[in-house]
Symmetry: D2
Subunit: 240 residues, 4 copies
């Protein structure tokens, strides 16, 4: 009763310990979510190109390969646009998603058909070939930043009894953050892979991880996540 009160650092450490405990991934109830690693945001000629996406590709691919090999479902999201479904994400917030007039210049800030379903070439919204979804892997196409809103993502996850979600992809401050918020609100235990998530501005990326780590998700490196799951898989194999 006359215990010494814990210091601020000790309180933070205790909270982190508890976060890790609650989020410890259960094989069989964990899925990997690959957010918007798509041509229309990565192709050299795409109007909404995010060059940094190529920097995280090795970590993203490492996670995808590991999950495929370990029987952990991999789900891909893609941001898409359809002229039949006009909304604020296109006009006014994403002029690049509008269809260009024939002969008009295209590119950042201009109607370019970016991410329009059926568009061919650099504005095509398909996941890049390097991560190509395999037969049996679900691709969820969404019309807003939050890939839970207006999509069957939640249904797909709950129907498979998924409770833990590992996040990789982009952009950290837009689609990934909106989807991560939405997953956390639904009580999914979420892990954000630090070396597998990016955006264009380094200080914004730092801010996002800061926000997320305090109240939303566990933040880990890809190697840490793989180590945690591997240890559990080994445990399962030796009957622990």
């Amino acid at each position: 009763m006359s215990e010494e009160p814990l210091s601020f650092e000790e309180l933070v450490a205790r909270k982190m310990l508890r976060i890790n405990e609650v989020h410890n991934m259960e094989v069989g109830r964990t899925a990997l979510l690959v957010v918007d690693m798509q041509r229309s945001f990565m192709d050299e000629d795409a109007s909404l190109r995010v060059p940094q996406a190529w920097d995280i590709l090795p970590s993203v691919k490492k996670m995808v390969d590991f999950c495929r090999a370990s029987g952990i479902p991999v789900v891909f999201t893609e941001f898409v646009v359809q002229p039949e479904l006009p909304n604020l994400r296109c006009d006014p917030f994403g002029p690049e998603h509008l269809m260009p007039e024939p002969g008009a210049p295209t590119g950042w800030g201009m109607p370019s058909g970016n991410s329009v379903i059926g568009m061919q070439g650099p504005e095509n919204p398909d996941t890049i070939d390097e991560l190509k979804p395999q037969p049996g892997e679900l691709v969820v196409r969404g019309y807003t930043l939050d890939k839970f809103y207006g999509t069957p993502l939640d249904l797909a996850l709950r129907a498979q009894d998924i409770r833990h979600l590992i996040f990789v992809g982009m952009m950290a401050d837009l689609c990934l953050l909106a989807t991560l918020f939405s997953a956390a609100m639904r009580d999914y235990r979420c892990v954000a892979i630090k070396d597998g998530i990016t955006t264009i501005w380094p200080h914004i990326l730092d801010a996002v991880f800061d926000i997320v780590e305090r109240k939303i998700a566990r933040v880990m490196t890809s190697d840490e996540a793989i180590a945690e799951i591997s240890a559990q898989l080994e445990g399962l194999q030796v009957g622990v």
Copy 2:
């Protein structure tokens, strides 16, 4: 056809012009959302005290008073906790929301009953007296950061045919951001009041406005918002 291509600055300016145009508030279809200006986050003795909330109170109150006087509905949100509804926002992410053992120390990082429904004193989740909801004003209590998730907020707004939402309150990076994302995904035209939104860390606040302004909402000062609506009200009165 041989027009000079627009510069980057001109493209940004054109986009901002279009954002303002689409978001121009319609009196009669606009509501003010006051996010989590509650005792349990503002009381001097609250475990989750955000001192900066008092700095924005004058702007928040100015908006509330103006909207009340102008017939614009004011809706309040409150973050609440109920032991019958345990979730990740409490354990592990908000230990302060757990009920304290009798006699145990309380405060940041420790079980303190923060925002628990029915809790009296500084941990009480009611909106502060300075903004006290008036008869007829809706208070929406939510159990997660996103005040659309698991609440009747969307129903209340659509039943009143609201299309524009003005945001004030806190914390900029958590409840306010999650709710703003969620509103924008539902195609509400959103305005974030720069001097009426805050959080604890200045660089995080800057990052949030940066994220929001690019793809989510219009960012305005309270005076600018009031001027826009006033001009429209005057127009209505003179029959324009």
Copy 3:
């Protein structure tokens, strides 16, 4: 004060009058929803064939043609299945939606690939040719009975500021009823077209209209709906 109390019949009549008043369709904010008029439920050789669907086709087509001619958006829903998204609607409730083993018999109660995306022939989930969606018309594909759940239907409607929904299609007691419930909960003012909605069993169809009329939607014939909208269109043309 000493007024005669209203009789039960008078109270019912007063309620019906008020329902009609509130639901009076606003041109410009009304859309037609064509529910699941798809090959896999209508083809002569489909495992889940609903022969009655052909009986309502003239009324459905009349509504579609009228709306197209009047500038009222037409939205189509389709029930679809994807092996990557297993759920209870397939196993155990819809064995016909599972993929058949090569050479195994198919048909009602047996795995037949019914409504699987990409399936060719009578089990194909596309809207029938007689109602073929035109360029610019939205088709919403859903994995459950309720075509709001896990789809961008709500986003598409609110982004176009739609407030009134006219329902035609099937099955009255399953997809149509679940979607109608869901629309009504979201405060859409709904009209069920009596001669444009069907299911297999007449007494179930009667029960559905009974349920709907009391608490969910206005029930009208296609001619009544067309007359109401036509009158309003004429009013608009003569400047009323």
Copy 4:
């Protein structure tokens, strides 16, 4: 390969077997949902009185008592109204939910304050005393028929890892059916207790069970449900 094809009856039996198998309740992941057994629908003087509710009360109470004794969470829903949240369920579909003018007659079809939060007397929306929620049991208040829409019900269930829902209450064709549809769409494995669900018209009650049994939920008696769970509890106790 030259097997005799199954008869229609055999196909139905096979499907029912599979439905039972998939829905076999897991203790620890099952909750009981008591829908709208509230004073304002059951009190002798309530404007929206459903006399049949008293007929199912013994079965409902049997289920509640059994679940409480077995550690299965019991969740109550209540339909509520708030003048600050006007919507179509009140005007035009539920005039009884509107507040009466002082001195005006009240009752069916007339403004009576039915189910308004804070209303005292027979129009009070609290669960009846006979089923009074115990400390620790969640009560979910909703403003529409579907108690998932605009409420934290889904969050509460998923946060406790619930996968199976047992339904009792009323009205079979309105709140109970809308909530059951909504639960089934979310892939909850649902059981409808035949002797614990009612509505005013017997043929509508029959139609509802018919609809539900084909595509939505398992239909069982309270005794069958109790026997299934008891067998499983005994199995757990003897270490099976």
